[in-house]
Symmetry: D2
Amino acid sequence: MIRSTRKVSRVIERILEAGPAGLFVLGTTGEGPSLSYHLRRTGRSGLPNCLRASDGAGEITDTSFVESINVADDAAEAGADAVVLAAPYYFAPSQEDLWQYVHRLVAEMPLPVFLYNMPSHTKVSFSLETVRRALDVPEIVGIKDSSGDMIYFDRLRDIVAERPDFTLLIGPEELLAEAVLLGGHGGVSGGANLCPRLYVDLYNAAAAGDLKTTSSLHRRVIELASTIYSVGPPGAAVVQGIKTALSILGICSDLPAEPFHPLGAEQRRQLEKALDALGLVEPAPVPHTV
Amino acid sequence: MIRSTRKVSRVIERILEAGPAGLFVLGTTGEGPSLSYHLRRTGRSGLPNCLRASDGAGEITDTSFVESINVADDAAEAGADAVVLAAPYYFAPSQEDLWQYVHRLVAEMPLPVFLYNMPSHTKVSFSLETVRRALDVPEIVGIKDSSGDMIYFDRLRDIVAERPDFTLLIGPEELLAEAVLLGGHGGVSGGANLCPRLYVDLYNAAAAGDLKTTSSLHRRVIELASTIYSVGPPGAAVVQGIKTALSILGICSDLPAEPFHPLGAEQRRQLEKALDALGLVEPAPVPHTV
Amino acid sequence: MIRSTRKVSRVIERILEAGPAGLFVLGTTGEGPSLSYHLRRTGRSGLPNCLRASDGAGEITDTSFVESINVADDAAEAGADAVVLAAPYYFAPSQEDLWQYVHRLVAEMPLPVFLYNMPSHTKVSFSLETVRRALDVPEIVGIKDSSGDMIYFDRLRDIVAERPDFTLLIGPEELLAEAVLLGGHGGVSGGANLCPRLYVDLYNAAAAGDLKTTSSLHRRVIELASTIYSVGPPGAAVVQGIKTALSILGICSDLPAEPFHPLGAEQRRQLEKALDALGLVEPAPVPHTV
Amino acid sequence: MIRSTRKVSRVIERILEAGPAGLFVLGTTGEGPSLSYHLRRTGRSGLPNCLRASDGAGEITDTSFVESINVADDAAEAGADAVVLAAPYYFAPSQEDLWQYVHRLVAEMPLPVFLYNMPSHTKVSFSLETVRRALDVPEIVGIKDSSGDMIYFDRLRDIVAERPDFTLLIGPEELLAEAVLLGGHGGVSGGANLCPRLYVDLYNAAAAGDLKTTSSLHRRVIELASTIYSVGPPGAAVVQGIKTALSILGICSDLPAEPFHPLGAEQRRQLEKALDALGLVEPAPVPHTV
């Protein structure tokens, strides 16, 4: 898994120690779309550097076709395994335009492609019919679904069953247990930035059909998500909850990229209490930015 | 108005001949978010080149703070009068985060700033309260509202009345007549790419309180919008309608930027008929891309 | 206009004194869907009694076909001029099902029918194509549009122009000025329960093309709407604002039908101040229900 | 379970033979809101008659407070165990108004009350905070969640855990497996009108923690739902799919209540094929209404 001794951030080190199947870099929790292109391509937390350190995939979603290609090329050079592509997020294309777009972009890609269904942020969902068309393109190797709609996910599972090499991942961590219990292949959980072991263990229990352990870890995920992610303002609550919690634990700064901003002192205290109630250990002395 | 002999596109030449108050470059109809940064900054239709040719403003909206600054700096150097800023369009910030974001970005701007309310594409609207806060910042000099919600626009008008130097513009051209009749200061009409004179005349009639002429030109705008913009697929219909119509008239290519694609032959024929019914003259021999 | 000496409520008396074209009974502001069928049919503010007193139309919208017919029959017997029909509001039908529903219901109606486009409450809009089909049915004599979408309203106007006997009304009072200035036939304004004369005057000015008077009265409508309707909780703010204001003026009780409830004392004070600022006269001694 | 020999419909007979925990009458699939009050109260498929035959609950949701009470009283007289209450579905109340409404209505109820969260039809969701308040009212004994949002359902489960007598049911049948596997108490599945045994078996397997059987039956539910419910028009597809399938099997007529209408011959053929592919037996000779 760990392929390089080059320096990565403490956050990523902790994740890799928990033994996940791989990293997902520059995604939503990673604030990818908020970073400058310079940072996305050359920063220490940028796609190439992180994926030099580990198996994994990096997000290349963009409103500009050309910029997506540029980031993908850097990712390939750094040894990434795949890139991840959501719908472009300014114009909301029709399904036919979305499909043409994916098809043309995949043809330019140096790496296998995961689709990323993220309608809350991109305003458009990959229709089941569009996913069916994607199955005919060998370079498209999987889909991550962050719609939160388990009926849609169930139908995806039926559809992708015909391509045994096609990977079906769930986005929201609150749904990881049920997704894997009923046949999904895994998840990309934002909370794994904070408690990587919890999500790896939950995945392992669910994949093994151990319903009792799954239920118990699932309950813990719900607890974490319903406390840590409910303190910040709408839109930013997940990203800021994770980042501030990591800062309380002394692992990284709580400074998010614009358009988000650090939580206030009172909200930080609420998160300290929540971390304490969850048994997530002692606050470290790293000063926060507020 | 025309300040340079440097070459601009035929589309812009025709607009400038009609005598508008200024250009609005890299906006939604201009497909700004779909262009590479290279094109946005150095292309012939890019922000600096267009605004070298005329008074006007250029859009700098981005999901990345730093990239917005980069484009604004180029615009300033080229002699632009202002920049235009919509909400960042991947994460949907809370009003407080949106306001902080605007406030901090405005502080970095080399030019006066127009806000741009475009909730259909950015998922977030500037609340009336946020606009009230913007009135205290002298560098923010106006707002363009593309929400299509005339009740919101009415309330905006009330609010901005206290800052006589603050400009209130309407986005959707179908609403230009009523916006100006009842006190708005103007509009940014996508259809002006196709028939610039129509929109300049409509503005002039409405601003002069000439109800009869306004009604008649308004009716023509509705006719144009309800035929030309209803042929393409949802999401792309306005951009593709304008671009294909311009291509039929021999003025530019019908090739949109990804994620949109040229209309099919049948749709192109529908647009030819619509242009004919509107009395918009003879198709020129420029070949289209299909 | 006034056809009977039978007792109606003070609210209706005041409206009739202002000389409107007619009444609209049991609509949204009239809380029609919240009343028991007994009240809708036999109450003093019920459809038959009110329309016995005046020209006008009554709403018969229901989730049950049969109940709509029952109310319509009572309305006809009482001398109503028309009934008003929105989409049924539990199931959101497809346009084809909606059309079949309208078509079959109209066939059972003892009176001419107005369609009522109210998507915020019914979840479904009458598509332009469905309105086109309605034009072929002589018994359908008009449409009231409360979508708040003036682009849709503009297109409606184009479509209904071919049926000179077809009446096009606007719902939201904030849009009455522009709707009538640009060719609409009138409006159904909730605020007319409170200040009937204001809306009658605004209609008359706009219909006469008197832009100056229209602008000034329009501004007053915006002022009223943005203060009186913004005090109560979302959903109930318009109904409660009107009802509480009427109670402050001593005209009726402030008790709304479930699921709404009287405003608290603090909110009532806010409304008193707003009424005062608007120059709407002295509070009367009628005790309120809180 | 079966408490009376009085005649009920074939549909209900088949359901009762499968041994469910109880009936849910006049719900969404039962087209309750489309029926006249006469039918809801006195029809053979009405609430009293059905619940005379079995344990179960009946829906009393209405836009009118008084009509809800009337139906509830009839239900109590017939021996129903509980009534079910969704938000009133014309006006969308604030959470505070919704809570007041529920609180006052519960006080008038002759039977225990289930809340019913059905935001797609009522436009408003019971917030977690409102559900917390409901736990303090002993007469409120459970909630059925049809939001389709499993993250919300997970949080509901956490909240209601403190009231051991409080029942948590899932609406969409596609989510029954995961809801029960992870701690929900059961479901109200529309498809049980068509294949009652399948849903009873699925519930039993999931409640027993038999992951293998659950997965296999879950897959069958998905298959049924994704074929039978995708033929009709949007809005009506589930109701019409079930009703037409039952008519193909010779069990009841395919005539839905307005605003829905029977499917066309081609759609009926599609459903015949789907039923055949699902192994749901031989078409009976009952003529359909088209």
